[in-house]
């Protein structure tokens, strides 16, 4: 520890000593009890001697901990060193500090003590906790850190302003570097997507138009690869329909509305939004009339339009004509959508509920199941019956369980999303929902990390999808995670919303190599083999005999592998990466490059053998367990590495661009 480091308040030595004393007291006690049971020479009667020894050791450790704990406020960072045997020295740059909290309990108030905790973005716990310092020191620290954080920000602003002139240089350099790379890439699609960074201002738009035209020409070629990609567009049939729809749509008039609020939300997005001509609100930013941009943007899609227009559009009744500071409705879940959502989604909570009831009243449940099964040939009671009786009982019970779970799930979803309303207040999304209990919450637009379109097989069948936004936690109370922005709507609308919200262009999904499918075939075959083996094991210990019947599961292997394979895809866009995965709960996640935290290329031993790799793109939002980290599974190693490099490069470009404008990243008015 550097000699200049500050110590905590001396009273904390006492509390640490007592804390560790009482904690460590238990170590020898538990150890003795366990070991006494296992080894003869050790006796439980030693506990009275061992406990005080543990206590004393804990006290010594607590005191040592106090002496080995130091903190310091330096020019660039807050430093904290701690640990007796294992040491940790932490440096937290001021620019990363989110807040400095001071907490005081009753006792601490009496003794003029306080706990200071320093938080940065990400991570659950506080990054540094000073437990305790004197009240005066706490206030001094808080003020000092705030002052230095402000100073650091000031310096950065100044530096940025100075660099701006030089910035042009670096940018063009970057551009040429990108172009070189594009030459290297083999495929058309790659060359397209990596050709240049997005234009930074409206004046460069003709440029981007040219590029788009170029892309259109490329697509005109009867290339097998393009054909395949077309099939994999967002969901091609409806895109252009909705696009042309919007021209006559009342909403597109919003674009010309001189609302200062909308302006703020949309304008920073200009580089992506205007280029893509991303429907409604953005077009006016560009120099050309809205229609021109729209047509231009949708040329791409028109080529594979099957003419299935989508007419039943949101009637736009949710909009005030002017951006007012109070809440503006963005999306209301209609009765039809609510019902469809309830009937097409299965909630884990319902499954858990059924299991809970089952364990709570096992006897009652069995009675009920037996009673229901009796008329169709079930056993008289649980004790008597032939194998056939039991078989019928099992099947009836299974059906019962599924039906009840489903009904519960429908009811749960209905009650949860009843009268769902999404609106905006300034730059926050606000939602409310619920039948019995109303929930409401807000999602700050600037905290949105990524946007995910989800659908399950049923919803795909009826052409619906949901839209979720993932946010990062940003304070002690808020929980980051996934919030439903649009629980369920026709997928064309959802895709349009997604494009408006993020400014992403219509993605043309890359398919993964066929080898990937082979891999899933092998993987699922192994799983099927395990199931058969388990069946065989069961026949060995029960009256059941025909274990080979379980081999039926192998029939499911090829379709399962194929379905997993066809639902994987990704698209490297101008400003976003789009990753799609999953069959049962398909997720299509749009990640802006500037939200990327880390990129990892992972290769298991099996993947290495096949020359495949998975690319994991981490953002600050994926902390929830429900949604896995966006991953491109089983791409060819070379391509995976290209995307890896691309993500890194575009993160830097995007950050530079964002530094120049006051970009919010998402458009709040997306419906």
């Amino acid at each position: 520890m550097a000699p200049t480091m500050n110590r905590l308040h001396p009273l904390s030595a006492v509390t640490y000593a007592l804390q560790y004393g009482f904690l460590w007291l238990w170590i020898p006690v538990v150890l003795l009890i366990v070991l006494a049971g296992a080894f003869d020479p050790i006796s439980g009667a030693w506990v009275p001697f061992a406990a005080p020894f543990g206590f004393l050791a804990g006290v010594a450790y607590g005191i040592a901990y106090y002496y080995r704990f130091g903190y310091e406020v330096t020019d660039d960072t807050v430093d904290v060193s701690s640990g007796v045997f294992a040491r940790r020295s932490r440096e937290i740059p001021y620019g990363r500090i989110q807040n400095v909290d001071i907490r005081q309990g009753v006792l601490q108030r009496l003794l003029d003590l306080a706990i200071v905790s320093i938080e940065t973005a990400g991570g659950g716990a506080s990054e540094a906790t000073l437990n305790f310092v004197s009240e005066a020191e706490a206030t001094r620290l808080q003020r000092e850190i705030r002052r230095r954080t402000a100073a650091a920000r000031e310096r950065r602003r100044a530096g940025k302003a100075g660099a701006e002139a030089a910035g042009v240089d670096t940018e063009s350099e970057n551009e040429s570097k990108n172009e070189n790379e594009a030459d290297d890439t083999a495929s058309d699609a790659d060359a397209d997507s990596s050709s240049t960074p997005a234009p930074t201002d409206a004046s460069r738009q003709p440029d981007s138009r040219e590029r788009r035209d170029q892309r259109d020409r490329d697509q005109g070629q009867p290339d097998e690869r393009d054909q395949r990609e077309q099939d994999d567009l967002w969901d091609h049939p409806l895109e252009s329909g909705s696009g042309s729809d919007l021209e006559s749509d009342p909403e597109s008039s919003l674009g010309s509305e001189p609302s200062p609020d909308t302006d703020r939300a949309c304008a920073p997005d200009s580089e992506s939004a205007a280029e893509v001509g991303s429907e409604a609100g953005h077009d006016r930013i560009g120099p050309q009339p809205a229609d021109a941009v729209d047509n231009n943007a949708y040329d791409t899609v028109d080529e594979f339009d099957d003419g299935a227009g989508f007419d039943e559009h949101d009637d736009g009744d949710e909009f005030d004509e002017f951006g007012q500071p109070q809440k503006q409705p963005l999306f209301d879940l209609q009765a039809r959508e609510l019902l469809l959502y309830s009937f097409t989604s299965i909630r884990a909570a319902a499954v858990a509920g059924v299991l809970f009831v089952f364990f709570l009243g096992t006897d009652l449940v069995f009675d009920y199941l037996v009673t229901v099964a009796q008329p169709v040939g079930g056993p008289e009671d649980l004790g008597t019956g032939t194998p056939t009786n039991y078989g019928i009982l099992t099947i009836v019970s299974l059906i019962n369980g599924i039906v009840i779970t489903y009904v519960l799930s429908v009811a749960y979803t209905f009650a949860t999303y009843y009268d769902f309303r999404l609106g905006r207040v300034d730059e926050d999304f606000v939602y409310e929902r619920g039948l019995l209990q109303r929930y409401s919450g807000s999602i700050p637009a600037e905290k949105v990390q990524s946007v995910t379109v989800t659908d399950n097989p049923l919803q795909r069948l009826i052409g619906y999808a949901g839209l979720w936004v993932e946010t990062a936690g940003y304070g002690p109370e808020s929980n980051g995670g996934s919030q439903s922005a649009v629980p369920l709507a026709e997928k064309a609308r959802v895709y349009t919303f997604t494009e408006n919200l993020t400014g992403v262009e219509t993605p043309k999904f890359e398919q993964l190599p066929k080898l990937a499918r082979r891999r899933y075939l092998a993987r699922y075959s192994i799983i099927a083999g395990v199931i058969v083996a388990i069946a065989f094991g069961i026949t060995q210990v029960t009256v059941l005999e025909r274990w080979y019947l379980a081999a039926v599961v192998f029939v499911a292997v090829p379709p399962a592998a194929h379905l997993r394979y066809v639902n994987l895809g990704y698209y490297v866009g101008e400003d976003h990466l789009v990753v799609r995965r999953g069959f049962w709960k398909r997720q299509t996640t749009v990640i802006p490059y500037y939200r990327i935290q880390t990129v990892s290329t992972r290769r298991s031993i099996f993947q290495r053998r096949l020359g495949l790799a998975s690319l994991v793109i981490d953002t600050a939002s994926s902390r929830t367990m429900v949604r896995g980290t966006p991953t491109i599974y089983d791409e060819e190693l070379g391509d995976a590495r290209d995307v890896h490099g691309e993500c890194r490069e575009r993160l830097q470009t995007a950050l530079r661009e964002r530094a120049e404008s006051d970009d919010l990243g998402v458009s709040v008015d997306f419906t």
């Binding site: 660039d76 440096e91 991570g123 935290q597 990892s600 953002t619 993160l651 964002r658």
Partner: protein, 153 residues
């Protein structure tokens, strides 16, 4: 690319050995109670555990590499699953140097880089000499301070 200090292998072997020995003690403890486990099997488990740990440590040392690239800290590691990770400097939240008791005895230290992400949120570079760790921490801190992003997430 920079490799780790060769002594890191000792740390990994020691960790594997400790695990194997704990497993051995657990086996010895359940021996008379739950089921008979011959002493030879108990010893065998410990020996195999240590041997696996040894092979793993040697291989892991061979593949572990890191580098400070212009925009990011880049790492390669992994025996079963080989992982190449890039941590952009602009995403570095804070940097630790850490060492545990075994590391201290071996004269080694680790640098841990934290991001606001969810997976790989803390990236550890083990097996550095204390001087190198200190130096790397300073470099990373400077790079992080230099490349501050406006969006603090």
């Amino acid at each position: 690319m920079e490799s780790l200090h060769p002594r890191i292998r000792l740390l990994w072997i020691a960790q594997a050995a400790i695990l194997a020995i704990i497993l051995g003690i657990v086996l010895a403890a359940i021996d008379p109670w739950l089921l008979e486990i011959p002493t030879a099997a108990q010893v065998g488990v410990v020996v195999v555990g240590i041997a696996l740990g040894l092979a793993y440590a040697v291989r892991l040392y061979q593949v572990w590499q890191f580098e400070l690239q212009p925009d990011a800290l880049y790492l390669e590691r992994g025996v079963i699953t080989f992982v190449e990770t890039a941590v952009p400097f602009v995403r570095v939240q804070h940097v630790d140097t850490q060492f545990g008791p075994i590391e201290r005895a071996l004269g080694l230290s680790s640098v841990v880089v934290y991001t606001a992400g969810s997976r790989n949120a803390d990236v550890r570079i083990p097996g550095l000499t204390p001087d190198r760790a200190r130096e790397l921490q300073d470099t990373l801190r400077d790079l992080a301070v230099e490349s501050e992003a406006d969006d603090a997430v």
